[in-house]
Symmetry: C2
Subunit: 181 residues, 2 copies
């Protein structure tokens, strides 16, 4: 298998269990609070991860195989995905994410992608031509961007509790950097 | 128990298993590469976490109980801690961290800290008076700052692989923010 794809899958396989070990049963101060107006709670992030698992990665990979650059990917409804999680417990969302990820990886493996497939192009609605390889690498990096966001959102809840240590903790200086943080 | 202390312990209990689920068995591209000169690999971060577990949190909490503000905490040798990990596998470090954390939490519980103890002051070598409560909150936030760093360091390895997605991924814009990132 392509070395990059192997590293991507190795990470994708581990994220659900890592989030489960970190988050299941945590007090709500860590999981139900955000970083201020128009920011996400940890629970919102989990809902977003489930949504992208179902609507984004595998559907886009299939579009590349089927249509190449001739059709644009559907844009992702980021806020809609978060509304879908309302009324579900965090534990429910962790289970749902684990199941969705298992299915996504099964689907990916069933594609039996060749080196040539990884070089195929699709068309992103915002920035045009992207390869299958870039899409799949982004799937893994997207896990990391949200793990980064989760650790920052959690740390934000302790910004006063840590007193003078706040300025020595990198995570408390992080402003998020982008809409996809 | 003090509500803050309860939240702190809940997080501290979960970090070793979360890091284990994320990191054990990952290909070295994720764990043995850094973000450039004078930055840490994931393995270095694990060594640092073990070192702070042994030298920092509980020893400082004991100093607060014993000496209050009359004695300064010993400064932490950050780079020394990283040298200690040389020659150990990541798996070994994950086990060592889990054991050190269990011991640290046992020691913390054995202190039976009262609300009054949490308000006691100690003296930090860089920024002076700090309370027991701030020290213990920082223990948890320190886990988060390094989880934030780990996710960023890992994402850095895919900065080229993701192609045009790089500028939409918050974690790839993160510069670390501090020496303690």
């Amino acid at each position: 298998m392509d070395q990059n794809l192997e590293s991507t899958i190795a990470l994708l396989e581990r994220t659900p269990a890592a989030l489960d070990a970190l988050l299941r049963g945590l007090p709500e101060i860590w999981t139900e609070r955000n970083e201020g107006e128009n920011t996400w709670t940890v629970r919102s992030v989990m809902t977003h991860l489930i949504h992208t698992e179902e609507e984004n990665w595998i559907p886009r990979a299939r579009m590349i195989l089927q249509f190449g650059e001739s059709r644009e990917f559907a844009p992702l409804d980021r806020e809609g995905s978060v509304r879908n999680g309302q009324g579900k417990t965090l534990e429910h969302l962790l289970d749902e994410f684990a199941r969705a990820r298992t299915k996504g990886l099964d689907d990916l493996r069933a594609m039996n992608l060749t080196t040539e497939d990884l070089r195929r192009y699709g068309r992103h609605p915002s920035f045009g031509a992207v390869t299958m390889s870039q899409l799949l690498a982004t799937w893994a990096a997207h896990d990391l961007t949200h793990l980064h966001q989760i650790s920052r959102t959690m740390a934000f809840q302790y910004r006063e509790a840590v007193g003078p240590w706040a300025r020595f903790l990198g995570v408390m200086q992080c402003a998020g950097h982008s809409a996809s943080a």
